[in-house]
């Protein structure tokens, strides 16, 4: 498996994908991805993951930028596979830690006491501008976490979608690219049916995403959707049913 891929590079702006995992769990691979955006001298790290991969990710990032130069670290939501290493990163960098306001007080459980380091996102999201370009935090609440955001980078046109688009154990996760959407789809279905809150949220998210020109959807687990697969994924995701639709089955 490739565990380091440059997704975008125009000289001034660069996006890198890492695929580092906690080795013990490789058999049940969640196929976890971490992302780094470098913009001139600064950088933003996306969903850095659990404490177990901290060392490895730290090294990997160091090959591109001094980790103390990280300006922001973005946590799409509160899960340990996303934010478990927040304490290490708060020590290793002076970055601002960006997350939904819902999770700020819980970060103490991961070993962070200085809530002054956190930028708490309000539900409707926020925008960080750089020159003509921007990073947009797009609401993704209840997909699956109740306080959840996707991140769109207008320069690279990559949408970092967090748990949305996650595929578990798809053969196409091996090279981290979806080659055939229809073959990949069954691996999306199980996860999304159980983890997403309901179709209304899925449609709301797609509605928000369609306002932007997206060339790659980069989820936290599994493979990238590029070009026409972006459209296919969005069309499919609009039809996804989740917890709400299965309420009777879940509660017996």
């Amino acid at each position: 498996m490739k565990n380091e891929t440059i997704l975008y590079d125009d000289g001034a702006h660069k996006c890198i994908m890492f695929a580092l995992e906690d080795e013990e769990h490789q058999d049940y691979s969640l196929s976890v991805n971490q992302y780094l955006i470098i913009q001139k001298g600064g950088a933003i790290l996306i969903d850095p993951g659990c404490g177990a991969i901290f060392d490895e990710l730290y090294d990997a990032i160091s090959r591109y930028i001094d980790p103390s130069k990280l300006k922001y670290i973005f946590f799409s939501h509160q899960d340990p596979d996303v934010a478990g290493s927040i304490s290490q990163w708060s020590i290793a960098s002076s970055a601002q830690l960006v997350m939904s306001q819902l999770w700020v007080r819980f970060m103490g459980h991961y070993g962070l006491m200085d809530m002054g380091r956190i930028i708490a996102l309000e539900d409707h999201g926020a925008r960080i501008k750089f020159g003509k370009d921007f990073l947009q935090f797009i609401p993704a609440h209840f997909l699956h976490s109740p306080g959840n955001f996707s991140l769109y980078d207008s320069r690279s046109k990559i949408l970092f979608s967090g748990d949305i688009g996650a595929a578990i154990a798809s053969p196409q996760n091996l090279n981290k690219d979806v080659d055939d959407f229809n073959e990949h789809r069954p691996y999306l279905e199980g996860f999304h049916a159980r983890y997403m809150a309901g179709n209304r949220f899925c449609r709301a998210w797609v509605h928000c995403v369609r306002k932007y020109d997206v060339s790659i959807i980069a989820p936290q687990h599994g493979s990238l959707f590029k070009g026409e697969n972006v459209t296919k994924f969005l069309e499919w995701f609009e039809t996804v049913e989740g917890g709400w639709e299965q309420c009777e089955a879940l509660y017996g």
Partner: protein, 504 residues
Amino acid sequence: MKMDVNALKRLRSLLHPYSLLYVEDNAGLSAQAGMMFTKLFDTFYSAADGEEGLKLFKEHRPQIVITDVAMPRMDGMRMAELILQIEPDTKIIIATAHDEIPLLHRSIELGVFDYLIKPLKLDTILETLMRCVNVLDGARHQKIFNMNLHTVFNYQNNLLLLLHAHTVVMANQPCLDFFGVTTVEELKNKFKTFDQLLLAHNGFLYNHNEIDWFDEISSHTGKLFNTKIATIDGVPHHFILSFQSIPEKEGYSVLSFNDVTELGLLKLYDPNAVERERLSKDEKIVRGLLEMAMRNGAKVKVHNFYKGLTITNDGLIVTMEEKNVSLKTPYIQLKAIQLSDTFYLTSDLFPMSIEAKGIQRIDFDDQSVQFSHYTLAETSPIRRDTIRVVPDGTLQVTILYEGRKYESDVKILDVSIQGMRVEFSLLPSGFAANNQVILDMVITESLRPIIINTAATVFRITEANHRFEVVFFYELHAQGKKALIDYVAKRQLVLIREFKGLQL
């Protein structure tokens, strides 16, 4: 009927929020007018007589109705009367071939919007629709304005403006008064050069270098800014500005200005050090800052320290009586405050951080603390980029300076990945700031000790009670850096557990 494409586009966008009902029994006229109206309106209904018109009105509630008078089944006047009974704000335009005085009187009596003579001329229709839009927009904006006032904190005392994109569409009376205008239209013109009204002041919001004030506020919805604006007589006022977008009305936002001039805070932001030094001890002035935060519902940050760790949470100043200030902040912060008897308050609105003392009472049930002393902290202890911890016995340091080792009589006070504060009982002779030393750190928490060897610079030496405190800075690399990150992270968790477990 022909019209200029741009004018058409413009009118269409103005008419966009509204729909039209057109009632005419002459099929030829109706088809012809229909062609024009579909160009102007997103939604357009047509009916062949008053009865059908009334039915369509009840179903769709269009805001504008244009109707003929003489029609089978129900005439236009009767229909207008019934429509206005259902919805008095409907703009009805009567179109008649007969210019009769009694008909005109009846129209005025009913309260129709306008009375036109057929054949309808394009210019006349467009002009009438424009007037319609103005009246409808005004009413709509007033409604949006009224419905969203409550989202503004303390709105009764503020200057308020409703914006659509960059344009003022509504304002309250205090706002018109302050800017010396009588109508919203005048204010709208004045607002086009609003960037020139925002005066330069240290740390305030105004247009300079790469800062565009509107960009700044619109990309930080809900954030508060210090601004300085002069009255028409040239007296500078200090306002706290906030910008709220209205989520369910795309493009609309509320701009509010809270006048805090009488708190006399402007000079606090002055970079003149001597003056600032004097003011920072003036509790009355500092109290003004706290009051400014309270009046605007400004979130502040509350900071404490526990064995090197910064403990920070949000706080809100809720009441002020005499000297006493009451602050709401979470349980964990109250605990830290109780432990140290002092705390620091910061806010983007403050020129410096505030050191709070004189704790009167901590109420854990109410999650609040009352305090009565406050000064400005000139050198703020909370501008820390890196996390520091007081180490445990598993971290030791040996300092090498000019060929000699210092280890037994040194003690690490706190450590971060960038530096270390060390206490010496005896300072090496000639030891001074900017000296270069070698630090040998040994971490013995696991079976195999980890040794970190680094060059370091003496940053500062201070003396107190015959002990010397030395701050060293260093730059670690690779394994050493990660080992220390790991140590600090683990130590941080231990300290957090220790702090949380403390029984007070």
